[in-house]
Subunit: 340 residues, 2 copies
């Protein structure tokens, strides 16, 4: 068992810098495309043997230091009773957006083992195969709520902010329900064998700090507080595009703060106090010529040298067009330059 | 002539805090919609009498302290020879994306007075009517380049970054040409009578600081350096989603830094040195109930009290769904709370 990733999460000394990539199991890999060619994305998420296979692919191919469960943050929203569709090239769609108290009331807080048994089954299968730690994950309640309220992705999140600003009780009722669901879901993942948990707050960066503090952060704090009562697995909180939210994010209760690529990691590390950090190279920097990519990784590792713990990652998910060879160059460079 | 806005730009003492809104002439106004119902967006941009009318609408209705020329940043790219279309609900489209040296070579650096006479004519008409200063504007070269390279808007700007990373000479040739065009365009606006100039770097926030410094900032510096030789009108640089780029943006040479809503304005002011600031309430905060909106404006004005100069604005353009009455509440609150 290679526990370098877990040690870095806990701020313990490691022999080298562990590395994994957000969306490392995914469309940039021909091996993944071969499976996706035969089955829809949503169906794939519900087939434990196939989820296990695609989760293992990048570990076997590149030697990442952690695996992340192949799934989607919205699976749990479907389990709450909101029909979910994935349209090719358009992303997720909730055809029945949640914009009334009646719609909020209709959502259920599901038993994750009953409604998402395939996730727990995948975790158990993966733990039998993996020689590196397995990361479970969920969306953060606010980010999940945006999809339900907007009915999918959005540019300015008008419906979400309008609900928060004009109908705060309805917003709170919805967020509380999602928080309860997410809390139980992550607990179930930990019980099934997930060795770390990441909470993705993909849209955190649409809030001004004063609103993030009211409309997003408390729900994350609640989930992490619940988790701490039943497990000591490391918890990673990733508030995407959250450079102005770092001080607030430090109060979420996580062990590790994920950083998007907009911050210089050295500057961010000065602001995170006692947290380890994860990140943060621009995913599209993987398109740099080899020598420049390696130099950039070297610089990033040097900039991160004062971190309490550093897990190398991209600042956001790897893009589908990335040549796999470039991912290999990056993983090897992180290992080589950090002393493995 | 109400010169409060110009004084604030220059960091001089003002009797109250001047206010204008990005996109204040636009779709949220029924008076604007009445005109747009009869003519396409692109056609409207080329009709000086109508541009003058829609520019004046929000000044007359709400009493803003500055007017901004009604136009679009992409007009100048069309003038460079790249066909431009606006598709309802999809935004701008360049059907012939610029992705080769041959395509870069084909672009021209136009004489703005010959290719965009309607803009200079609008400025002259407006100066006869206005009792507040008139702001001219352009896009920043990098932001303009993204539209040409991507062929429109984008999510991850893969083509743009890939050109910068893999074909830096082609990228530089394109950006240099856009810079020359933009520089001449802004100079022509100043000569026609624009009393301040804003450079919109709408997509600056997709860069890591180390890349912003190489691939976006130098072109803005070049334009401002050129402008300084021929005019002393205040220059505003707005690097949207640029909270990690503030120190770099301070080297652009502008008088005023525009701030998006993600930063607390007090925190940002500590980082801008000798610059005035413009911003930065979340445009969707205009949907807050009246008392809360007023309180938020009051807090923002207090947070900004140590600024060298403060021009109140939104942190991004006003959204089309905004009730005009809410805009009025905001403008009145800025004036009232700041002592007018």
């Amino acid at each position: 068992m290679n526990d370098t990733f877990l040690k870095a999460c806990r701020g313990e000394k490691t022999d080298y810098t562990p590395v994994w990539f957000m969306r490392q199991a995914g469309r940039y890999l021909p091996e993944y495309q071969a499976i996706r060619g035969k089955i829809s994305f949503l169906e794939l998420c519900k087939r434990p043997e196939l989820c296990t296979e695609v989760t293992l692919q990048p570990i076997d191919i590149f030697g990442f230091d952690a695996a992340i469960l192949f799934s989607d943050i919205l699976i749990a929203m479907e389990a709450m009773g909101s029909p979910l569709e994935f349209h090719e090239g358009r992303g997720p769609v909730f055809p029945e957006p949640i914009r009334s108290q009646a719609a909020v009331d209709k959502l259920i807080v599901p038993d994750p083992n009953e409604t998402m048994p395939f996730v727990m089954e995948t975790i158990k299968l993966l733990r039998k195969e993996l020689k590196v730690p397995l990361i479970g994950f969920s969306g953060a309640p606010f980010t999940l709520a945006t999809y339900l309220i907007e009915g999918g992705s959005s540019k300015v999140f008008l419906n979400t902010k309008r609900m928060a600003f004009q109908e705060p009780e309805m917003y709170h009722a919805l967020l509380s329900k999602i928080t309860e669901c997410t809390s139980l879901y992550l607990q179930a993942q930990a019980r099934a064998g997930a060795q770390a948990l990441q909470i993705f707050d993909s849209w955190a960066g649409i809030w001004a700090p004063c609103d993030f503090e009211r409309f997003a952060l408390p729900y994350v704090q609640s989930i992490i507080s619940d988790l701490r009562k039943m497990t000591d697995v490391p918890i990673i909180y990733f508030a995407n595009n959250g450079s102005t939210l770092i001080e607030h994010s430090c109060t979420a209760g996580a062990d590790v703060l994920g950083l998007d690529w907009r911050s210089n990691i050295g500057d961010a590390i000065k602001r995170v106090g006692n947290h380890a950090v994860q990140g943060n190279i621009d995913p599209i920097a993987l398109f740099l010529p080899k020598a420049e990519l390696e130099q950039r990784i070297k610089t990033l590792l040097e900039d991160a040298k004062d971190a309490k713990g550093h897990i190398f990652n991209l600042g956001h998910g790897i893009v589908p067009q990335t040549p796999p060879d470039q991912a290999r160059i990056a993983v090897d460079a992180v290992h080589r330059f950090s002393g493995r």
